[in-house]
Each structure stands twice: as C-alpha cells, then as structure tokens.
Subunit: 251 residues, 2 copies
DNA sequence: CGAAGTTCTCAGGGACCTCTGAGCGAGCCT
DNA sequence: AGGCTCGCTCAGAGGTCCCTGAGAACTTCG
C-alpha cells in the first residue's frame, strides 16, 4: 500500500485534514507534563500536527506560531485561568476550537459558560478515546475538518454507529449499549480488521488512572458479543495470545 | 460530505445569512470581558461573524470597520451610556438592529421608548438561548436574514413549536409550558437526534450566573415528559451517563 | 393582600453500571 | 493424552446515576 501522497494517520486510517489538505494543527496546554506527553502522542497518532505548552503564556506564544485549529486546554494552569487564556487565544485565532480539561468537581463551578460557545470539555480522569472523539466532533462541526472517508457515522459491515446520537445499529436493528460498551465498540470500529491487544484497549478506552486488570476487557468484549453478535454471524473475533479484531462478515 | 462551501453553523444547522449569502455580522458591546467572551462564542456558534468591544468609543470604531447587521449592547458602559452609543451607531449604519442588555431593575421606561423602534432587550442575567433567539427574531423581522431552511417554527416529528407565538403543539394538541420549560424544549428541538449533556443544557438554557446543580435539568426534563410524552410514544430519551436526546418517534 | 404559578432544594428509592471472583471450557505444548 | 495457560461467562456486591414527590422561597397577577 502506498502512503505519503495521501494524508494518513500513523495507524493507516485516513485522517481528518484541513480544507487545503494539510494536517490539522492542535495545541495541547497542560502543566502535567506526563499527561501532555500522552495526549500529544495520541493526537499525533491521529495524523495531526501537535505542539504542547505547559502554561498560559507559552500557550499564547505557541498559538502565534502554530495558528492551531484546535486547543486542548487544562482549565487549571499555573499562571492564568482558562477564561484569560481563551480570550488571548481568540485574539490570535478567532475561530479556534477549544476542548477543556477539568477536574470532576470543578465542572459545576466555572466551566458553565466557558463551553457555551460550542466548545466542549472532558473531566479528568478521561480516556484517550473520549478526548479524540470530542476533538473530532468539534473540528467537524467547526467545518475545519474535511472528511476524507468517514462522516459523522462510523460503519463496519452492517454495523453502524452514530456518534452524536450515541446510537448503534446492526442490520438496522437498534443495539443498546452502556457508556463503556459504547466506547469500547467505538475504538474497535475505528480500527477494523486490526488486532488490538488488551493492553492497547485498556490504554485507550479506560481512564489513564485505571489500575484494573485486562480481565475487564474480556468481560466487556463478552457483553458486546452478547448484544451485537448474538444469533448473527460474529464480527468480534478472538486472536488467542494477541487480542481482538472487529471484521465485517466475510462473504 | 464536504462542508465549508456552504454557510453552516458550527452546530451543523443551516445558518441565517445576509441576503447576499455571507455571514451576518454582529457586534457585542459589554465591559464585562468574560461575558463578552461567552456571548461572542455563542454567536459564532450560530455561524455569524462576531466582534467584541469593551466600551462605547471602541464600539463605534469597530462598527465603522464591521458595519454590523446587529449590535448586542450593554446599557451600562464605562465611558458613555448605551443611548449615546446607539445614536452614534445609527449614524454609522442607520438600519442596524439593537439588542439591549440591561439590569433587571433598570428604568424600563427609557428602554421601552428605545425598543419601540423595533429593537429588543433582555435583562441580566439571561440565558444564551434567549439572546440568540431574540437576535434571530430581530434580524428576521428586519429582513436582514435570509432563511435557508427554518421558518419561525421548529418541527420535530409531530412536535411543533412556534417561537414567536410561544406555542407548542404535539399531534395538534396544545401543550402549555412555563418559560423555563419552553426554553429547554427549544434547545432540544434545535438539536434533535443529538445527545446533549446536562452541562451543555445548563450552559445554554439557564442564566450564565446560575450556580445550581445539574439536578435541575433532570427535574425540568421530568416536567417536560409529563406534559408532552404522557400517554404517547416518548420523544425524550435518557442516555445514561451522557445526557438526553430528542427524537421523532418512528425510527 | 391572597391565590396561583414558577423555580429550585432535598431526600428516598430504584434502575442500571462497573468491576471482582470463581468455575469451566477451549486451545496449545510436550 | 495430560497438564497448562488463556479466555469466556455467571453471579453478585457496591456504587453511581436518574427519577420523582413534597415542599419552601419567590414572583406575578388579580
């Protein structure tokens, strides 16, 4: 397979790109360097151009250089608060999308209003899948992202996921999923025909501070199978010793 | 699907545009920078071109550059009062629409006199849904807005809302709603088939200074259900862990 | 000034979700 | 085949999320 001519993610999936076909630019702002590192890696994996900053001042400086399409912004920063940074960022680039990171307890507090513009937020601890999904949603709605293949729906064989309505159907039949089941399936559907290890799944779908064991993944795969593969040709396959694959039914 | 060619809101809804198809231009004038930021974000989210100014002098200057179709104008400004600014604005652009922001106990007489010309006002603290709705109404009545799709009524399945008459019917049957219930339903109807989190709903429907808990949203959803879903196929669905969706009944 | 309506707080209870533990079966190796 | 590892599933504890009734504070209106 030839890549290089086309904008692709490191995972081989087609990337969301800017209208001119270049990579989307994202700025990550968090004073927790480990977390910033993880986020940066995950977003690069999506095929985006990423820069990181550790405080409000360097965030504004970086924004001047990068002119990012989106910013992932920790509300609690050492030097300034989210509102101030947001204002400065909007001065630099008025149409930038913002995804806020916030502690769970702070939600009721000050976030109300910040996100009112159509921006979004996730509460710590979050899963990488969630951050990526929210960011994709923001960029898509902002019209900054040009779709190469996928629409707001994810499709694998007769399995269809509407991320906005949080609805999943198989062969037209509605499948009800719990939040964790939904995120697990989303991760699988975004990586069809690819074996995903239990460790990979844990890293992506579960919160970064989850200490649990791989057994949970087996359990949730089991739940998913019961709900979507029951009485049908199975789409989720076990690769013993390696992990799981989601495949459209072969014919 | 290609976006960008067409004028759409960041929410994906079709936008109100100027007769020539370009984005409507709005000027926000308020010395509370946080509030101005929130308003700016919310109006951009509607697909409009927005600029902000913090005092009367810079408002007039910005108006010269932007030539706005509408102005959101705080009556209390640090340098001059709103009425003086209004006169200057009318010199710059005689047909501009004005939405006043005013404290609840402000002298309603003078406001009434000014708004008699067709302009409108909202009292602080307000909800973003209300500001957006008033502004849409103003622009529509002034003939500045070209309708792309929606008229003054919103329709989801057999549920119909006439925004101007403040009337809601389901299957032709009139449903009486309190002001808050009405705004909540309006927000839901403007985002059908889309899961809205309680935080999002709070941000849009409740006043920006409302410190209450997400619990209120549950309560009002409960009220709405009692009034519009009672004895019928339900249209409001709970998505546990995520929020609520409004969906037309069949499929 | 009383009555009706509206908004919000509080608390109980129920439904659902997540994860643990254990038993069992299936595959793999020698 | 036997023994081992790996994966599947059941059952259930504990926790979280959500719904709803009751009522207090406030506003509006007659």
């Amino acid at each position: 397979m030839l890549v290089g001519a086309m904008n692709t993610t490191r995972s081989g999936r087609p990337a969301l790109t800017r209208p001119d076909g270049t990579a989307l630019r994202v700025l990550v702002v968090d004073d927790d360097l480990d977390l910033a590192e993880v986020l940066t890696g995950a977003l690069r994996y999506e095929g985006w151009e990423v820069r990181a900053a550790g405080d409000g001042a360097s965030a504004v400086a970086a924004a001047h250089e990068l002119l990012p399409d989106a910013v992932v912004l920790d509300v609690m920063l050492p030097d300034t608060d989210g509102f101030a940074v947001l204002r400065r960022l909007h001065e630099v680039k008025p149409d930038v999308c913002v995804l806020f990171l916030t502690a769970r307890d702070a939600v009721e507090d000050r976030i109300a209003g910040i996100t009112a513009g159509g921006d979004d937020y996730v509460t710590k601890p979050f899963s990488l899948e969630e951050v990526v999904a929210r960011l994709r949603g923001l960029l898509r709605r902002a019209g900054m992202a040009r779709q190469l293949e996928e629409g707001p729906r994810l499709t694998v064989g007769d399995l269809v996921m509407d991320e906005e309505a949080r609805e999943v159907t198989r062969a037209g039949e509605l499948i009800e999923l719990s939040p964790t089941e939904f995120e697990l399936l989303r991760f699988l559907m975004r990586n069809p025909r690819r074996v995903l290890s239990k460790a990979q799944i844990l890293d992506r779908v579960w919160s970064y501070d989850f200490g649990g064991r791989a057994h949970v993944v087996e359990l949730y795969i089991s739940y998913l199978r019961k709900k979507m593969d029951a009485g049908r040709e199975p789409m989720i396959h076990t690769v013993r010793g390696s992990g799981y694959v989601l495949k459209p039914v072969s014919r």
